[in-house]
């Protein structure tokens, strides 16, 4: 695990000095993070990096998990889909399962933090145990068009928090509490993003039998090698089903490689670095952090104009945004046929990520968020 000093060559000493200044201001406060899984998924990934770094900076950050059975996670997956606007039936029994598990967690968990930082809907109901401490709800989901029924159910809890945090402006709702915009981030020193020697990249391609005789693209196209790679999350029971459907659809095309990577970040990194163009053609997206991962590797991107993606790509400056399948394939053709243009977009993309989407910016904003809980003014002198 990288130490804070190791980020200095990437972001510069003054940025790290600023982080230390902020950490000093949080001296004596315990920040308790709570979510539902320690492995798989973006939240666990970011907490696995953030908590040790916050500690190293001097912030007393800790991390606890709620417990839940299969039924509970089936229900929270339904919540997740409903918040994404999917028309899905959530029964009274589902709500009861959610409340019952939440009550058990409330009874069993020690909520000791001066600041209790709750991630996503699974642990949201713990706030019923709130007393005099500060509570923040961190929403990593796109809730721009949520199912009204599920949103209103969750609102009963969200309104009890001191603040909420969303990843994109369109996700904000009218709430009686303060809401902040904090984008997620990537860690440039993690296995998924660090520089790799060419031998490692070649070895991964060999391992999966992917020839490098054609440009490699990470989204469907009949003319190019395609790699579809993904992993599962323990709180996402749908991932196996999706994998099966994709494999069925791709089984007759030898240029399509569908890979299930069991949390092998080096391999994901190598596949991204081996790509000529990277695509993120999402129908809906929370934030779409894979976009920043690709841009950090200076890769030209074609990505959907949804969720948090437009925050990461300024169209025609740091990548190409698309609104349709036709638009995506046209943009892909442009990038493959104009390598200089593609290179320039990739370089701008990396610079944009460096300034806005690295973990150091995320650490800074989380510490500012914690400080904001004790200051109501728009200009705060610390």
């Amino acid at each position: 695990m990288a130490k804070i000093e190791e980020y200095i060559p990437i972001v510069g000493q003054p940025i790290i000095d600023d982080l230390r200044l902020l950490a000093e201001k949080l001296s004596g406060k315990v920040v308790q993070n709570i979510n539902s899984t320690s492995v798989g998924g973006g939240v666990a990934e970011i907490l696995n990096r953030m908590v040790p770094l916050l500690k190293e900076l001097g912030v007393d950050a800790r991390w606890d998990l709620i417990k839940g059975g299969e039924q509970f996670f089936e229900v929270t997956k339904k919540f997740h889909n409903a918040l994404h606007g999917v028309n899905i039936e959530v029964s009274k029994e589902d709500f009861d399962v959610f409340l019952e598990t939440s009550r058990t967690n409330m009874d069993e968990m020690n909520l000791y933090g001066d600041i209790v930082f709750v991630h996503d809907p699974q642990p949201v109901a713990l706030v019923d145990k709130k007393q005099d401490k500060k509570w923040v709800w961190r929403c990593h989901v796109d809730v721009s068009e949520p199912s009204e029924e599920v949103w209103q159910f969750l609102r009963g809890f969200i309104d009890k928090y001191d603040s909420a945090v969303f990843s994109a402006p369109a996700f904000s709702q009218k709430l009686p509490i303060r809401q902040f915009l904090i984008s997620p981030s990537i860690d440039p020193l993690s296995d998924k993003n660090k520089e790799l020697p060419q031998e490692t990249i070649d070895a991964v391609l060999r391992k999966y039998g992917i020839p490098s005789d054609k440009p490699i693209v990470t989204q469907i196209s009949r003319f190019f090698r395609l790699i579809l790679a993904g992993g599962g999350a323990t709180d996402d029971p749908e991932s196996a089903e999706v994998l099966f459907e994709v494999r069925e659809a791709a089984k007759d095309d030898p240029d399509i490689h569908v890979l299930l990577l069991a949390q092998n970040d080096i391999e994901i990194n190598a596949l991204q670095r081996a790509s000529t163009v990277i695509m993120q053609k999402s129908i809906r997206e929370g934030f779409g952090l894979t976009v920043s991962e690709a841009l950090w590797k200076s890769k030209p991107m074609v990505a959907s104009n949804v969720g948090g993606i437009p925050l990461q790509i300024a169209h025609k400056y740091s990548g190409l945004l698309c609104n349709s399948i036709e638009g995506a394939s046209f943009a892909l053709k442009q990038l493959l046929n104009s390598p200089d243009y593609a290179r320039r977009l990739g370089e701008n993309g990396r610079e944009h990520v460096k300034n806005n989407f690295l973990i150091t910016r995320h650490l800074k904003e989380y510490m500012l968020l914690f400080l904001s809980l004790y200051h109501a003014e728009d200009v705060v002198y610390l």
């Binding site: 940025i15 600023d18 902020l22 300024a314 701008n348 944009h352 500012l368 904001s372």
Partner: protein
């Protein structure tokens, strides 16, 4: 470097970090945009006229404001977009006057182009009002003369430069940037103060601005 006159008061470099607060307020027409521009907190106007500058610091020396971008790219009202983009922020010493100018531009456009009132943004492309929450704190860097000043300027964060040049002048309504104030009041150097004051910082990238200020001060040291 030649020895420099010591300042009456040292220059303490501050840094400014910011957090974006969401308001939940959104506009999908020009009329709604106008109404909200008139009503929202001044921190929202500040945010939407300075956000691009910080987030896309490497891309554009002349950042458009968010209002101009939305009116052009989403509503397709190019003429108004151009008017809003041409509002020269350096000419305004208060957020209030800047707000009035933006509102006046939209208002007069709507009066001349009534059909613009019925143009709606697409779903998910509304204008979301946000505001900047600034956290200001002193750094460990303190300059006692121009040599110190130029050395520190080369290594502080661009957040610090941003604070002393942009935020102090407009948001905190100090009329001039902090650097010019210090050159004038603590070093008695009205020429250097005027040289920095006459820069239009909105026409530089932040790194470009850092380099320009360093160059001006170095020339002054050598003169």
């Amino acid at each position: 470097m030649p020895e420099q006159q010591k300042a009456k008061e040292p220059f303490v470099f501050y840094t400014r970090m910011h957090l974006t607060e969401l308001t939940g307020l959104r506009a999908s027409t020009l009329s709604q945009l106008l109404q909200l521009v008139k009503e929202v907190n001044g921190s929202c106007i500040y945010h939407h006229t300075h956000r691009f500058l910080q987030q896309h610091q490497h891309l554009s020396p002349e950042p458009p404001n968010d209002f101009a971008y939305w009116v052009t790219e989403v509503l397709g009202e190019d003429e108004l977009g151009e008017k809003l983009a041409s509002i020269d922020v350096i000419q305004f010493n208060t957020i209030r006057s800047l707000r009035e100018k933006i509102a006046e531009a939209i208002e007069s456009y709507l009066a001349e182009n009534p059909m613009a009132k019925v143009r709606f943004s697409k779903e998910n492309e509304e204008f979301h009002f946000m505001k900047s929450i600034s956290f200001v704190m002193p750094t460990k860097y303190v300059a006692h003369d121009l040599n110190d000043f130029v050395e520190i300027l080369g290594k502080i964060t661009i957040d610090s430069i941003y604070y002393h040049i942009f935020e102090s002048r407009l948001r905190l309504e100090k009329n001039a940037n902090d650097f010019s104030n210090w050159f004038l009041t603590s070093l008695g150097d009205d020429r250097l103060a005027a040289e920095i004051s006459k820069l239009d910082p909105y026409t530089f990238t932040l790194e470009g601005l850092r380099n320009r200020v360093i160059r001006i001060v170095k020339i002054r040291i050598d003169s």
